[in-house]
Amino acid sequence: MKHKYLYKIFIYAVLIVCAVIWILPLGVALIKSFQVEGVKNYIYVLNYEKISYVRVIFNSLFIGIVTSITVTIITSLAAFAFSKMKFAGNRVIFNSILACLAVPVASVTSPLFSLIKNFNLLDNHFGVILPLVAFNAPMMLLMIKNYFDTIPDELLESARMDGAGRFMIWCIFMMPLSVPIIANVLVLTFIYSWNDYLMPLLVMRSPDNYPVTLAAQFFMSSTYQSPVDVARIYAVMVLLALPSVLVYLISQRFLVSGVMSGSVKG
């Protein structure tokens, strides 16, 4: 019995030490952001004229929301066809879309850039959104299709008997029955596009269009030598990290299972 007690203490000790290490970088940033001038650091950052915080958050939100909704709609439509319809080339097309999973985006930066330039989408939100949709879709397709496969065909057959068309079946059967996986895909795609750095780096030019990830670099490129500068830069990072921490806390369950299923099966 005594042994068991010692184990427990040991386990907690290790867990707590690790947790402290994992919280420390953010914790230090938070504490240091209030140094020298306290809350004034935040007011300074929020009123910075070269780049507007509200604008930056808006850019990231816009990119994240449009990307995740687009991905969800086009992949769930396609997953419906791949899972429940019979047509020539079903497997071949499905596998050729899945094969895109293997492509590291960073290895095709140069053709991506010329593609966006030719579409005339440089310095445009859709220049970021379009590639993000294309590169995130394959994994989300796999997740939704796997889920659709578990919905029995008989159920849809009976809806068909009642005269519902395919699109109606997708709308009123497949989507409502798949709410957990749809939420998963929405959250995951949102976080991935919110956190993406490479696409905005290639596409965005004017600070007015910078999302969170580029804005962080914009501030990092200014000099931060005096204690006030350092405190202000910490305040910037806290402000920029805040939305994703909030999203994480709200949607933790979906996110964890999403990241896990997406990567392990993919």
């Binding site: 396609a78 319809m85 047509f87 895109c100 999973l101 590291p104 053709p111 750095y197 990290a241 990241v259």
Partner: protein, 290 residues
């Protein structure tokens, strides 16, 4: 609906948007990369010449390219094994289901939900040689010898990058092992306990070997992850100082956008793509075995 014998033409309408996007963007990029790798295109002008395999010959003779391959390898080894080790230990401890383990899980996983851009920025300030909190702390506890120029010293820069990467992705290894542990039958532990095996003996001689499949998956994902590495290096060190942290993707980016050598960049891109495809095949094979 699948049971009916006829082919459903309407289906193409449903897959059309996704197909167009995949083929027009992803496949276009792949084909374009392969094509450009045989030209001397600069990435901007309308003119270029077909130069055969000369980009590949240059690449294979380029010590910087091999240095970047080597860095990718070090990055993979340094990340995966440390990450798997910490992840495994923490997963075993969390599996005990003591009160409060949910909070710990949430803490360890959080960096994955955060942007690499922000995490690297915070670490860059923390690792500043003079004003950084890390060195200030080391000096205050009289460990001056460990206080170094974390990102500016060619000998330690790659190590620092790996450290930040472990910080961001350890939670993933932990959750993978945790999921693996949930799949193990409980009677294994019972049998070990009856045999009188201690906690650590059980963990390392019984649990760890039983999770070999999970470890294999993590190793493969680690190689794939290393091939995808770009953000963290570009943001922390930009590949420097010198060439000490240059990985394949940052070298490719440099060639394409700083040297205006799209052909050279494409030949690196093709090698990354080939490696990525090979790794995916191995991953699928492993998945089928599981």
């Amino acid at each position: 609906m699948k049971k009916r014998g006829k082919s459903d033409r309407i289906a193409y309408l449903y897959i059309f948007p996704l197909m167009i996007l995949s083929f027009a963007i992803v496949y276009y990029c792949i084909i374009d990369t392969v094509f450009v790798s045989f030209t001397d295109w600069d990435g901007m002008s309308a003119e270029f010449n077909i130069v055969g395999a000369s980009n590949y010959v240059k690449m294979l003779k380029d010590p910087v390219f091999w240095g970047s391959v080597c860095n990718n390898l070090i990055f993979f080894v340094g990340t995966v094994f440390v990450q798997a080790f910490i992840g495994f230990i923490l997963a075993v401890f969390l599996k005990t289901k003591l009160p409060g383990t949910g909070i710990f899980k949430a803490v360890y996983f959080m960096p994955i939900a955060m942007a690499t851009s922000i995490i690297t920025s915070i670490f860059k300030i923390l690792m500043d040689p003079t004003n950084g909190v890390l060195n200030q702390f080391l000096r205050s506890v009289h460990l001056d010898m460990f206080a170094c120029n974390w990102l500016g010293d060619p000998k330690v820069a790659l190590f620092s990058v790996i450290l930040v990467n472990i910080f961001q992705w350890m939670g993933f290894s932990m959750m993978t092992y945790y999921a693996g542990l949930m799949g193990l039958p409980d009677d294994v532990y019972e049998a070990a306990r009856i045999d009188g095996a201690g906690f650590f003996k059980t963990v390392f001689h019984i649990t760890f070997p039983m999770l070999r499949g999970t470890t294999n998956v993590l190793v493969i994902l680690g190689i794939v992850g290393s091939l995808k590495t770009f953000d963290i290096v570009k943001l922390l060190t930009g590949g420097g100082p010198g060439r000490s942290t240059t990985v394949m993707n940052t070298y490719l980016y440099e060639k394409a956008f700083n040297d205006f050598n799209a052909g050279g960049a494409a030949s690196i891109g093709v090698s990354i793509l080939i490696l990525a495809v090979v790794m995916s095949f191995i991953q699928i094979r492993l998945g089928e075995k599981e």
